[in-house]
């Protein structure tokens, strides 16, 4: 009963398998080619290279820095603890730089202040110097006597006019953090505790696979250590989110993959009562291998989220062997190759329709879905090839005597269906179903937010919020990108923007911002300061009255006049420029560009309005853009869904004719509609991911309809085959629904609901008359 080709097939396939294994080995030669970077999964909304550079620049600290607050009720204890932890962290080798004290280089600061006297003067101080030179001198006299004017870095005799003091005092406030002069620590006070700020910068970034877990681990140990002395640690870092994401992903891969595997193996054993039935799992393993290899080959590496979602492939891939294994209920005796020959057309059709469904995902602008689509399609092809070429050879000589209870259950189900149809006719049922759908759809809401992609533990967000509250640092992901022909224009454009931002701050719509022109003024303004200083001798009599020698003032004035116009690159070299350095993007192809970063934003739309009439100024709001892309993609996803249905319809017209094909495609579509309605009834929102899930439902649901329509081995056996396929698929997608990542869970829920309806509706697929009758009575 074995054809010659069936002798060669397993060997040919084994050669292919070896080749793929070798490729996989090569791909994994430098460790797992895995990635946990969420940003790799979202569509590139910024086609502009400069925007991308700016974005990377702004995100880099988030992905490389750990911000730690070391808290204790006793100030000294907090400082000691911060010092201990700082030394331990430095010794850990994970960090480039661990900093908990302000290492002020006072001579460098003095030099920068003295050289920046023209360029770094704030707008208000410039205004006073130009418009009210008398008041300017008066304030200086006052400051010389003022015991509380604060600490001036530059001695009076080097700066009689007090310009450096003004520059020092006009530097933007850095939150609620204060310097402890004794220890040099940066300390904030809140909630009855003293919090020492410790910043650590890692060697790599959050998307190295091991680093985030090592950092999270170190933090865990430090927490325990702090706890021993009643200390408390608060930490914020992109690394911690990455670590939590990785841990969660591996947990979920274990749960979904492990759960589905155990469930399926158990099902195989219960149904077929032979340990060799477990060989049906071989196609699954090969499928995963093929999927991973294809993914790495195409994308360079594989994202952990692909693995989580891809682990649901197990349930789909096992359907192929189940297709012909389930024929053991009708084929007596069951022989692997003949069972395969019988089901091969159905199997191939099923592969084609499922692949169409998955590959439809590849056309969305989401790298995440493209990866999943490629992984799944390659995986399915691998599983199909194994099921067709290798598995029959492995199962050769096995005589299956499956348990009879599943078949009886299916017969029972079919009788129940007949009984129902006798009472209520199909059109009435359809009507009721449509009412159910209408009701559900009425209640359905949609929700699209990038945050659904991250199942962030509450503790992490709570701590980040606490840190923002205690320190006053509230970094936002939005920022302004400013372009201009030259530095002078750039600074002037920033000046206009800053005036508007100041208004927003006054209205409490914004906490603060950081902009290069807070560090230095445009060249034209520097020139005005120079001119105003030249007029000052007419007003400096009060200083002479104090005894300041007139030649000292004249010498200083001559020095000031000789100071060159400061450009941005020069201004950024001094220690005061440290926070500003990331803002400067430097020369671009058509001029120069810089970033204005924002703090404590609560209305992005309001910010966007500010830029409407400002040329060269652009708000970059990646999250907002992404959320908009999500919403827009829903429409294209619906179109894709229809397109995939048309393709499947065309494909099915060949074996089933137009009417049959329409029927077979209409059922999963109806199932998808029911799934959508159920989400509505359950109060679950429809997310983009849910919609993609429904795309899959169409593809997989078509399988069930095909199986039922083919009716090889009779209605009950076909229903049993469908039931087995459905249960295995539910096992994997249903487990996805318990994922703590909202997007994944919504996806799993949408698919498992859709599959449940697909199964229930499958018996309505009709019956295909076969040229060669292979139906044998059940039992």
């Amino acid at each position: 009963m074995t054809l010659p080709s069936e002798h060669r097939l397993p060997r040919l396939f084994l050669i292919l398998l070896l080749a793929v294994l070798a490729l996989a080995g090569w791909q994994w030669r430098n460790g797992a080619p895995l990635s946990a970077n969420l940003m790799e999964l979202v569509p590139g909304t910024a086609p502009d290279a400069l925007e991308l550079i700016a974005e990377q620049r702004m995100q880099e600290p988030l992905n490389r820095e750990v911000l730690l607050l070391v808290g204790h009720t006793e100030r000294q204890q907090a400082i000691t603890l911060a010092q201990t932890l700082g030394e331990q962290w430095q010794a850990s080798g994970l960090f480039d730089k661990v900093q908990w004290t302000l290492q002020a280089d006072l001579p460098a600061l003095r030099t920068q202040l003295l050289e920046g006297r023209l360029a770094m003067l704030s707008a208000a101080d410039r205004q006073q110097l130009i418009d009210q030179p008398q008041a300017f001198i008066q304030q200086r006299v006052q400051a010389l006597f003022d015991p509380f004017s604060g600490f001036s870095l530059v001695p009076s005799q080097d700066d009689w006019l007090g310009l450096t003091g003004r520059i020092q005092n006009s530097q933007p406030q850095r939150g609620a953090i204060q310097l402890d002069v004794g220890s040099g620590a940066l300390i904030a006070e809140a909630d009855g505790k003293h919090w020492v700020l410790l910043r650590a910068r890692t060697h790599g970034n959050a998307f190295d696979m091991d680093l985030p877990l090592q950092v999270a681990d170190l933090l865990q140990r430090s927490r325990a250590q702090a706890g021993q002395t009643q200390g408390q640690l608060l930490a914020a870092s992109g690394l911690l989110y990455a670590a939590s994401g990785q841990q969660q992903a591996s947990r979920e891969i274990t749960w979904v993959g492990g759960g589905a595997t155990i469930g399926i193996l158990l099902l195989l054993l219960l149904a077929f009562r032979r340990l060799r039935a477990w060989l049906a799992f071989v196609p699954v393993l090969v499928g995963i291998l093929f999927g991973a290899v294809a993914c790495v080959a195409l994308f360079g590496r594989m994202h952990v989220m692909t693995l989580v979602l891809g682990s649901s492939l197990i349930g789909v891939a096992v359907d192929y062997p189940l297709h012909y294994l389930s024929k053991s209920w009708s084929l007596k005796p069951w022989r692997s190759w003949s069972a395969l020959r019988l089901t091969l057309p159905g199997l191939s059709l099923s592969l084609a329709t499922t692949c169409i469904g998955y590959l439809a995902l590849a056309w969305t602008p989401f790298p995440a879905l493209t990866q999943i689509a490629i992984f799944s399609a390659a995986g399915l092809i691998g599983a199909y090839l194994t099921a067709v070429c290798l598995l029959p050879a492995l199962l050769k000589g096995v005589d299956l005597h499956p348990a009879q209870w599943p078949l009886r259950l299916c017969e029972h189900l079919l009788r129940a269906r007949e009984a129902l149809l006798a009472r209520v006719r199909t059109p009435v049922l359809l009507g009721l179903l449509l009412i159910f759908c209408a009701g559900g759809l009425w209640q359905l809401t949609t929700k699209n937010d990038i945050r659904q992609w991250i199942g962030t533990p509450e503790q992490l967000t709570d701590e980040a919020q606490a840190i923002a509250r205690i320190t006053g640092f509230q970094p936002t992901s939005q920022f302004f990108l400013i372009r201009a022909d030259n530095q002078s224009h750039l600074l002037e454009r920033q000046t206009v923007l800053n005036e508007r931002l100041e208004q927003l701050i006054a209205l409490k719509k914004l906490e603060g911002y950081l902009s290069l022109n807070q560090l230095l003024s445009p060249p034209a303004e520097q020139q005005k300061v120079r001119e105003a200083l030249a007029r000052l001798p007419a007003f400096w009599q009060p200083l002479l009255d104090l005894g300041v020698p007139v030649n000292a003032l004249q010498t200083e004035l001559a020095q000031l006049q000789a100071l060159p116009v400061t450009d941005i690159d020069t201004a950024l070299t001094g220690p005061l420029a440290e926070p500003y350095r990331t803002l400067w993007l430097g020369p671009t192809t058509d001029g120069v560009a810089a970033v204005v970063s924002l703090q404590g934003l609560n209305d992005a739309a309001l910010l966007r309005v500010q830029t409407l009439d400002l040329p060269g100024v652009q708000l970059v709001d990646r999250l907002g853009d992404l959320n908009r892309v999500f919403a827009a993609t829903q429409v294209s996803a619906a179109e894709l869904k229809l397109a995939s249905c048309v393709l499947i319809l065309l494909l099915l017209t060949w074996p089933f004719g137009v009417g049959g094909a329409l029927r077979v495609v209409a059922l999963p579509l109806l199932a998808a509609l029911c799934s959508l309605a159920s989400l509505g009834w359950l109060g679950q929102p429809l997310t983009l991911f849910g919609l993609f899930g429904l795309l899959l439902v169409t593809a997989i649901g078509v399988d069930y309809a095909i199986l039922m329509r083919e009716q090889i081995g009779g209605a009950a056996v076909s229903l049993l085959g469908t039931l087995l396929a459905a249960v295995t698929t539910w096992l994997s997608f249903g487990l996805l629904a318990v994922s703590s990542t909202p997007a994944v869970s919504n996806f799993g829920l949408a698919v498992s609901l859709g599959l449940a309806f697909s199964f229930m509706l499958a018996p309505w697929a009709g019956h295909q008359a076969h040229a060669t009758a292979v139906t044998e009575p059940a039992q």
Binding site: R75, Q76, L102, A104, L106, V141, Q142, L144, F145, D146, P147, F148, S149, G150, F151, P155, S156, Q157, Q168, N169, Q173, R174, I177, Q178, L179, D180, V181, G182, S183, G184, L546, G547, V548, P549, A552
Partner: protein
């Protein structure tokens, strides 16, 4: 770092355990509820032949804070309280923005006011000599950061603090003389009003 003057003025108040004893000194200085007095501040700048001299009055109240009323060569009132530093502009007190280093000085000052010695002893090496009626306290900064600003601080006094001398690392020097200090039981109504506002 001129604000350090003021908390150093009160620096003697902090209980400091050493022989003659810092503990005794701080108890002695902590006794009066309210101190009124005159001050003369001399700033000796390296580049000026004669010091910048200013004069005025001060009121130190144990449970409220300090009023520093500059009278010549210009008039300006300051107030230090747990809420921060304020300057009188026209008729109203304007709270000055808490600059990082300034706010820290303010904190130290208040720590001293409240008899919390940990702040001073952490940042300075203290050396006390003399008798209760005539003593001298020397503060040498310990931390690298403070050493870049001060060389040394000397405080002289008897029953109360009489003279504070601040030697800056860059060569400038400030001398603060407290004269005719008297202690009373309570604040005047106007002073109470100033602290209350």
């Amino acid at each position: 770092m001129k604000r350090l003057f003021i908390w150093l003025l009160l620096g003697g108040l902090s209980p400091l355990a050493q022989a003659f004893d810092l503990q005794q000194l701080s108890e002695q200085l902590a006794r009066p509820d309210v101190i009124h007095g005159q001050f003369i501040q001399e700033k000796h700048l390296r580049a000026l032949p004669q010091p910048l001299t200013s004069k005025g009055r001060f009121v130190l109240a144990k449970n409220h804070g300090l009023l520093w009323l500059l009278q010549t060569p210009l008039q300006q009132d300051y107030r230090i309280t747990p809420q921060g530093i304020a300057r009188r502009d026209g008729g109203t007190w304007q709270t000055l923005p808490n600059k990082s280093a300034g706010a820290e000085q303010n904190r130290l000052f208040l720590a001293v006011l409240q008899g919390d010695s940990s702040g001073l002893q952490r940042d300075f090496d203290l050396n006390l000599s003399g008798q209760p009626q005539q003593w001298k306290l020397t503060l040498t900064p310990r931390s690298v950061l403070l050493k870049q600003i001060f060389k040394q601080i000397n405080i002289d006094g008897g029953e109360l603090v009489q003279r504070i001398e601040l030697l800056e690392t860059q060569g400038d020097r400030t001398v603060l003389r407290m004269q005719d200090s008297t202690h009373t039981k309570a604040l005047s109504e106007a002073e109470q009003h100033d602290f209350a506002e």
